[in-house]
């Protein structure tokens, strides 16, 4: 026991650092200080010692006393044994035979002499408690006997043995989930070469959003089956299918499965609706600018055209020969032949002037009567010119020789002139958004002009007289107003449902109006039916520039910037209950597009089923 205590230093088992700052490291048995060695060994000393001292390897530094101790041979041996994990004592035998005290053999003497416990004779109370608890639990049904685990062999049986078709478990709103689409050639591990992506397609595929891609994978080709790798998205796809099955809202979608041919309406065959113009037969050349306006004489023998090159030309219809040319000195906006067959006069609108021309292209009597009409007023009193802004004047000199008879000077640029069916009245249009002076009605025989409107109702696009009754049609940008000239009131306002009306034509019966608009539409109004269009025709691809009715045949035509003239058959029935039948019968092409303009004006021959069209390519064409 004593040896356990180190008595060389009496400070006890304390950390040596505590004496760090002192010159001693403790006290010996006598109570004297044990001093530290004066000079601490540094590394060099240590090294020298290691090199020179043969006992170095068995020298141990004793921290307690601060001295070095050289181990004896016995001590070294002990250290070695301990390091090998052997007992320190050399004489200790670890393999002594075991004595079995507690064996199956019953001995005559007990191992211990202790008497048996009392609790080994009496039943256990805690056990009783536990058992009674279990019994109680069983009684109360809390504790159930161990369940017999079925191994799955007998788990399945014939579930549908008694198939009862009367069970309709699901109500009729049940929508079965659609099956997964079957794979196509694309998905093959070795697809035909055309199904593989080219570099462009591949780049496109990579750029696209995963939702937009046509194929959810890139087709690949492997030269043999062993090279096919696992598909990395397999679990993903299955999971997505699961999500679809229980999360995706289902909706019954009616898919129209129609034959597109059935959608096309059954119309009477164009063949049965003849006559109508079908082919281009004549081209009238001569103008150098775009031909804005054309007009056919009531006899159907002459055609007048006004062009941007400042000339009005008169053509013979049958021979396409230019009979006469009048230089009027300005871009001609509109020409209109007097519809009265007993006179031969032409109204021409250019700049702010309306000219009345007598082309003298008729027999003498007609020329005479037209001269008479022009001069009738001359003999009478001088025109009073009530509203001063319009000035009538006679043509003189050179102009007179060319056939110009009258000049009607307007305050603003005139865009359109129209004759009344009787041939005495003449309306001119000066579109102007700011004033009510947009339309003038001139009376030729009395050389009088009047402005029928006192209020501005919008930019007037074109006007037209009713062919029979005293009505006056005024088309503004978005609507057509119909005025009763006798009562001097508006009778109707037609809504064209288009952005900008370009042209208008009145049916010779007077009950129907068509108007074309710059937004490619053509609307047919049935005046008896409604103020809304009876039919909107969207046949043209570009702005509609001109529309016209045939006087005798049930035909109408529309000219458009897309270079085509579309002739439609429009039968109007006398029976009010029957709606007009509109059938497009022919698309006439021929005009060349110039400056994005195609056909500018269209008009029918008064007696034949022929149609004239004038275009931006400076030609006039006759389709028969």
């Amino acid at each position: 026991v004593i040896s356990l205590h180190d008595i060389r230093n009496t400070v006890g088992n304390i950390p040596v650092e505590w004496y760090k700052d002192f010159p001693h490291i403790g006290y010996n048995l006598d109570g004297k200080k044990i001093y530290k060695p004066i000079r601490n060994k540094d590394e060099l000393d240590d090294f020298l010692d290691k090199m020179e001292n043969p006992e170095y390897w068995r020298t141990v530094h004793d921290k307690q006393t601060g001295s070095d101790i050289v181990l004896s041979d016995d001590q070294v041996e002990l250290v070695n044994r301990l390091q090998r994990g052997q007992f320190g004592d050399v004489n200790f035998n670890e393999y002594e035979p075991m004595v079995e005290f507690f064996s199956s053999d019953v001995m005559i003497h007990p191992i211990t002499n202790r008497p048996a416990d009392k609790r080994s004779f009496i039943p256990s109370l805690t056990e009783k408690e536990k058992v009674s608890k279990l019994v109680h639990a069983i009684k109360m049904g809390w504790l159930k006997p161990r369940r017999v685990e079925d191994d799955g062999r007998g788990r399945y049986y014939d579930l549908w043995a008694s198939e009862d078709s009367s069970i309709l478990a699901r109500h009729r709103m049940h929508l079965p989930a659609p099956k997964i689409p079957l794979p196509g050639h694309h998905e093959s591990y070795n697809p035909p070469p055309e199904y593989l992506f080219t570099d462009e397609e591949r780049a496109l595929w990579e750029q696209q959003d995963p939702g937009d891609r046509k194929l959810p994978f890139v087709p690949r080709k492997y030269s043999s089956l062993r090279q096919v790798p696992a598909f990395s998205h397999f679990i993903h796809e299955r999971f997505e299918r699961c999500l679809d099955l229980y999360l995706c809202p289902r909706q019954r979608k009616m898919r129209v499965n129609v034959n597109p041919e059935d959608l096309i309406p059954q119309l009477p065959k164009p063949k049965d609706l003849q006559p109508f113009p079908t082919t281009q037969s004549l081209v009238y050349r001569g103008h150098s600018g775009l031909v804005r306006s054309i007009s056919v004489s009531p006899s159907g023998q002459w055609l007048a055209s006004g062009s941007d090159d400042g000339s009005v030309r008169f053509w013979e219809v049958c021979s396409s020969r230019c009979m006469k040319m009048v230089q009027v000195g300005g871009a001609v906006k509109s020409v209109a032949w007097n519809p009265n067959p007993s006179v031969c006069l032409l109204a021409v609108a250019l700049d702010s002037v309306v000219l009345i021309l007598s082309p003298s292209l008729a027999d003498k009597q007609v020329i005479l009567s037209s001269e008479r009409l022009l001069s009738a007023q001359q003999e009478g009193e001088e025109p009073a010119e009530g509203n001063g802004s319009v000035v009538w004047s006679e043509a003189e000199g050179e102009e007179l020789n060319q056939g110009v008879r009258l000049k009607i000077q307007h305050p603003k640029a005139v865009h359109q002139v129209v004759w009344h069916a009787k041939g005495d009245y003449l309306a001119s249009v000066m579109p102007d958004n700011t004033s009510h002076l947009q339309v003038y009605i001139h009376q030729l025989s009395r050389r009088r002009s009047q402005n029928p409107f006192s209020r501005n109702k919008g930019l007037v696009q074109c006007v037209s007289f009713h062919p029979i009754r005293p009505y006056f049609f005024v088309a503004t940008q978005r609507s057509i107003r119909i005025y009763n000239l006798v009562k001097q009131e508006m009778t109707k306002k037609l809504q064209a449902n288009s952005k900008w009306i370009s042209s208008m034509a009145v049916h010779p019966g007077g009950d129907h109006v068509i108007c074309g608009s710059y937004d490619c539409k053509l609307s047919w109004f049935d005046l008896d039916l409604s103020t809304k269009p009876y039919k909107m025709l969207r046949h043209h691809k570009k702005a509609v520039r001109g529309v016209a009715y045939h006087r005798l045949y049930p035909l109408f035509a529309s000219a458009s910037d897309d270079g085509s003239v579309i002739v439609c058959h429009g039968t109007v029935y006398n029976d009010l209950l029957q709606n007009p039948l509109i059938v497009p019968v022919k698309v006439l092409r021929g005009h060349v597009m110039t400056h994005d303009l195609g056909v500018l004006d269209v008009t029918f021959h008064p007696t034949q089923p022929w149609v004239f069209s004038s275009g931006a390519d400076a030609t006039i064409r006759l389709f028969t």
Partner: protein, 587 residues
């Protein structure tokens, strides 16, 4: 005015739907439980016709369930089981917390379980209904059976899936109902016809899965739970219909051979049993050991006219099917170790072939590689050392292509080291106007019994080209008429212009009379043009709505044609390149 004021959203469609949250509250279930219930009972959201009305005027995106569906869920006994389970979990936690291990054990022993039998019966009142919906079940079970025991799902589930899929495959083999197979980059598709229902499933290639992190395995496990029950019942019924013993037993007569060699050193009986089954090499035991199956003969009914034709067609089809069933009969296959054993063994056995493999690959091989009677050796490596002279060494694609073509294809294209012909999907049925790859045409010709030489191929190609041209012509036809007219006019105008110029220059006109040319009018063409124009004019008169629809349909059609043309063009370019290469190589 009398009567109560009508309130909004108290009648009509607003009362027929219920949002998910409200449904959950009504059922008093947590979201995971609700999800499980929906999956098991097959309840899915519905998209109402007028969403805003149903949503009480709001346009917030919500999922709606039918109120009837939710009411139907209210009476589901399984909801009670869910609650029991919740309580069980709570008790178990408590027992753990108190370290009462005996209680834990007791609780675990009495873990509440539920059965899905009644749900299956309810969802699929008839057997055919169940069969119709078994595609997804099969796909899922086949996927789960390939999972490793990595803790993504219970081991029991994996084992059950394995067992059920093996049972299914054995049924398909015995009933010989496999129709189509397809090697895709995703996996192998199989299509079987069971009781008149086409059933398609896909099996992934045999690789360990790279489990994605963004997949909720609980959802998949719930589905699998349902699907395993369904598949088990379906299997039972199918086995019964063929008089087979369920659970399947190997036929003791036929089985004798493999039994001898293996038993003692292999594994426990119960384990090796499933493996032997999954080897797919032995036939199954029947309840009544019947002799050969009687041939299915179509009864003849006295019929007339069209019915007769239909009958004949059906008979023909049936005959073809019978022939397909016996496709590999009499052939003896040997699988090399690098080919997908399970798939090939399944297919070959489905069509009556005999198949074996190396003993070390899998249990259940029936004959050795040295067997002299082997006719086809399936191998998927560039070369082999020792070749037996009396058998074909072919690549595995041959088997799949034969099944799809329903005839034994010439083996030359599939020999060792030969570049394989493309593998086509048997599921694509080309309609008129669709693109048909030339390989398919070849196979179709083979099916018809024609022999394909090189000449014929070329002819076919030519034909194709012609067809294409025709198509293009048709497309252009509409415009052609006008163009021609235009051209004539242009020419005329040029002439006129020339004349005018000459006139304006003051030259005297060179008057020249040339004999006119007789213009031959193509009557058929004219008629066609007329018809086309009529159609165009009629289209102009279409109503806006119909025009829209018409345009859409035509757009779709045109797109289809465009795609077909694109494929054809691609193919042609490819073939040309190949030819050029060949020529170069020859030089």
């Amino acid at each position: 005015m009398g009567g109560l004021q009508k309130k909004k959203f108290e009648r009509g469609s607003a009362t027929n739907y219920i949002t998910r949250n409200r449904a959950r509250k009504k059922l008093q279930l947590s979201l995971p439980d609700f999800r499980r219930l929906c999956i098991l009972k097959g309840i899915y959201p519905h998209e109402p016709k007028h969403k805003k009305k149903v949503n009480k005027g709001s346009t917030a995106p919500r999922t709606f369930y039918l109120l009837k569906d939710i009411r139907f869920l209210l009476h589901e006994p399984i909801v009670g089981k869910f609650r029991e389970y919740k309580i069980f979990v709570r008790k178990l936690k408590k027992a753990y917390g108190k370290t009462e291990w005996s209680a834990v054990e007791r609780l675990r022993e009495n873990k509440p379980t539920y059965k899905l039998d009644h749900i299956i019966k309810e969802r699929y009142p008839t057997f055919i209904d169940a069969l119709r919906d078994i595609d997804d079940a099969l796909c899922m079970c086949f996927l789960f059976s390939t999972f490793a025991r990595t803790g993504k799902c219970h081991v029991q589930t994996i084992q059950l899936c394995k067992r059920l899929t093996v049972e299914w495959m054995n049924y398909v083999i015995t009933s010989r109902s496999l129709r189509k197979v397809f090697l895709s980059i995703k996996g192998i598709y199989y299509q079987a016809e069971v009781m008149g229902q086409l059933i398609t499933w896909v099996v992934p290639y045999q690789f360990s899965h790279d489990h994605p992190v963004d997949v909720d395995y609980r959802v998949m496990a719930t589905f699998t739970e349902l699907y395993t029950t369904l598949l088990g019942f379906v299997n039972f019924r199918l086995y019964n219909s063929l008089n087979l013993v369920y659970p399947p037993k190997l036929d003791s007569n036929a089985e004798s051979e493999p039994k001898e060699e293996s038993e003692d050193d292999y594994a426990m009986n119960s384990e090796s049993y499933l493996e032997k089954l999954s080897a797919l090499s032995a036939s199954l035991a029947r309840v009544v050991s019947s002799a050969e199956e009687e041939e299915a003969q179509l009864d003849h009914f006295p019929t007339e006219g069209e019915d007769m034709e239909k009958m004949e067609a059906r008979e023909k089809e049936l005959k073809q099917q019978e022939a397909q069933k016996k496709l590999f009969e009499g052939l003896k296959f040997y699988l090399n170790r690098e080919v997908p054993r399970e798939s090939l063994a399944f297919i070959i056995r489905c069509f009556g072939g005999q198949v074996s493999w190396d003993k070390s690959v899998c249990i259940g091989s029936t004959y050795e590689m040295t067997d002299e009677t082997i006719t086809h050796h399936i191998i998927d490596r560039p070369s082999v050392d020792k070749q037996y002279i009396n058998r074909y060494y072919i690549q595995p694609q041959w088997v799949y292509d034969c099944v799809n073509a329903k005839v034994l294809l010439p083996v030359e294209d599939y020999f060792l080291g030969v570049t394989l012909p493309p593998h086509l999907s048997p599921f694509v049925e080309e309609k008129e106007g669709d693109y048909v790859p030339p390989e398919k045409l070849k196979i179709m010709a083979l099916q018809r019994g024609e022999k394909t030489g090189n000449e014929q191929e070329e002819e076919e190609e030519e034909e194709e080209e012609e067809e294409e041209e025709e198509e293009q012509e048709e497309e252009e036809e509409d415009d052609n008429g006008d163009e021609e007219d235009d051209e004539e006019e242009v020419a005329e105008e040029k002439n006129l212009k020339k004349m005018e110029e000459q006139r304006s220059q003051g030259k005297s006109l060179q008057v020249k009379v040339t004999p006119g040319k007789l213009k031959v009018e193509n009557k058929a063409r004219l008629e066609q043009e007329e018809k086309a124009e009529e159609k165009r004019l009629a289209i102009m008169m279409m109503k806006k709505k119909e025009k829209y629809l018409y345009d859409k349909i035509m757009f779709g059609k045109k797109r289809k044609v465009r795609e077909a043309n694109k494929l054809a063009a691609k193919r042609k370019a490819h073939d040309d390149a190949e030819k050029a290469k060949k020529k170069k190589a020859r030089k």
